[in-house]
Symmetry: D3
Subunit: 160 residues, 6 copies
């Protein structure tokens, strides 16, 4: 199994993360997408939107940003500068992350990296890198799912 | 049962209705709510929004407007003037509506109109007018659901 | 009122609950439904999904699991084994629950249990057990709402 | 390849289908779920809900029912009897369905049926029956995804 | 710049806020809208709904209420009395609010108040009051967006 | 006004468009995003997803593809090859598009193209090209909204 490359092979428990949330009701979708890009580029761990229903019949979006405390101020500044928000809220969260390894699966169309999740010392999750599958699918003009399935299957077999 | 007031007691089938749809991705929620009001005031039969996912990572809203063909042009003009849309689409739909009657239910807190739905000659649906329940709830400082339930229960009993 | 059966008649305030959340973007809906079943069977207090918008144009789902701390590890293991997730987050929440009683309402079609909510010593909520209404609706070939409404109405009357 | 069982091996184009839609704003979720069951049991081809935003600040659900014209009246009756709706709408749709075959994949944990989709004579889609995977997962206490992946992989290999 | 009216011109950081959440699966949309009104009238800082997917195939809504601790008990009472909920949960959140000023923009159609957001001493956000724009739009029979854009543009120019 | 560039300056009404829809319940979000890209690259007029609730407790997505009939077959092939779908549906729709012009707005930070919508001969809609605003925002390290607002304001002024 020496094709398996360890990144941080042990699980992590991080009690010092922060979730920032803000409800946006007068912001166009273009700006929502742009703000997501800015936040990720500045180092947010995760960014996502949820469709919500606000007062005065307004369909709106909740922006959620997961971050370490060291990045919090910079991300809040982006939110205040790019969106229409006059206020945001935040609360502490803990994160539990699997250990990770990477395996190079040699499919008949080319090599695909497979990300592997390790839970209590056991390899339990095999996830081919989507962008690499995409590149091969476009190069060989094949359905992407075909390449994804073969890469996953090879990594699982190697692990037995 | 002479408290029952017939509106159009027989079911209707209308094959000449139109559904207008438009995807809005750069329109604030305030404008969405305002446009809904304008469309209803101008005679749309129904207006609603659905949260959708567009290209370029944009969460957006689909506006749906149900109308008779005679109102279609006026409603399209409102959509084009008030929203950010450069194009809309529409298709024909048929509508099947129940016959309707109204009954005055005398609750212990005051009278509430109950809308009754008639399917193939039979009273099958009893729906207290929400705004009247709300007015009584606020006047008597009671949970609205209590008044709603009693009005419905009285109308059902009268029908037996 | 001796038909009322007390379960835990007083309200409860529990400050030791945990909310686990995880964003899933490469998991089929079949697996989402299956995971929900597994989590509930293992003792989660509540499980629900929310549709979210992630980066790279990916519509996805957030899984939320409410649990006591004693079950947290077991539920995390299910999440890691059944879904595609490489990480989850959690935070403490407090729960406020109404006192509960159960009343057997004798409708004309059969008996239906009504769950009653008690707030500061007062019975304020009457909720017929849905599955029992469903069984009677199917047995007598009647609209379910009819049976539900009668059971609720009987329980409310008995309480006066 | 004599393990492949043909159902209707050729693609179908059916221009006579009907989509029924109805907006429900005063109907509990329990009733929504029950109505879906009733509609499927009565022969609807597909049933689903979409979250929508209606006037007067009301979050609501749109019910969509795909059906052949021969079932339309029966399904409309269920909608009118079980839900709070006073009106529904419908419009004609065409359906394009792949040809289908079924293959029995012999996994190390037991047999799983794989549904295969045929487009213009070519097998392009391999979909293990979820309930069979579920049964094996529960019997052997294994992650469901593991069994699903192996069954799919076997069917794809056999097809080469 | 003496047209700018300061409200609380400095940013605020409030660590003592509370988020109340409750999942509602047997509550009509009319009641959801009414409950939102009651909560806002009683002093909730923010109220919104999110569409969620619960067990037993039930599409439902999560109610979220942001409040100061002094209002928490009163708001919980409204939730328990008006909705079908038997339990709710809550957790502490911190709020970060921009400083605010108000500017009277003199458009060609009339005066519009513009709310201004101040981040670290700098005016960064200009938001015309929607209801005032709406009144002018209806009075002059013009697209609302036109008036909104002019008011915003005037306030930005004055700030330079 | 010779800076205004006419594309197809008159409104269009096209009665020959097709809306393709397909419900996807066992397809990962990565594949959903990839399929959207493939469909747009192949010439679909519009592609979007809607979150829906299917039977057996499955949160899923509806894919909607707006197309001319000449592209329909090619787009159906992409759907069948890339997604997990065994069937799709389609129905005819009419499209009403505004006339379009383009104006080069000279902002203090650089030129931005503004798309203008023409309804019955009148310029009623001014929409700055988002990607151009984005490029200037990144170049000058400014909030994107600032540049967007100025470009829009210049185009509106020129039109008077």
């Amino acid at each position: 199994m020496n094709n398996f490359l360890s990144q941080h092979a042990h699980e992590q428990l991080d009690h010092e993360m922060v979730m920032i949330e803000v409800n946006l009701d007068d912001c166009s979708s273009e700006v929502l997408a742009y703000t997501m890009d800015q936040l990720l580029a500045a180092g947010a761990n995760d960014v996502y939107y949820t469709s919500i229903y606000m007062k005065k019949n307004r369909p709106a979006y909740k922006l959620s940003v997961l971050t370490s405390p060291t990045k919090q101020q910079e991300l809040e500044e982006i939110i205040f500068k790019e969106t229409t928000s006059f206020g945001l809220r935040f609360f502490p969260v803990s994160c539990h992350r699997l250990g990770r390894e990477f395996y190079k699966a040699k499919t008949q169309w080319g090599e695909v990296t497979v990300k592997i999740g390790i839970y209590q010392g056991e390899r339990i999750k095999f996830s081919p890198e989507f962008e690499e599958c995409r590149a091969l699918a476009e190069k060989h003009n094949l359905p992407l799912q075909l390449i994804y399935d073969e890469a996953k299957s090879i990594a699982i077999s190697q692990n037995k």
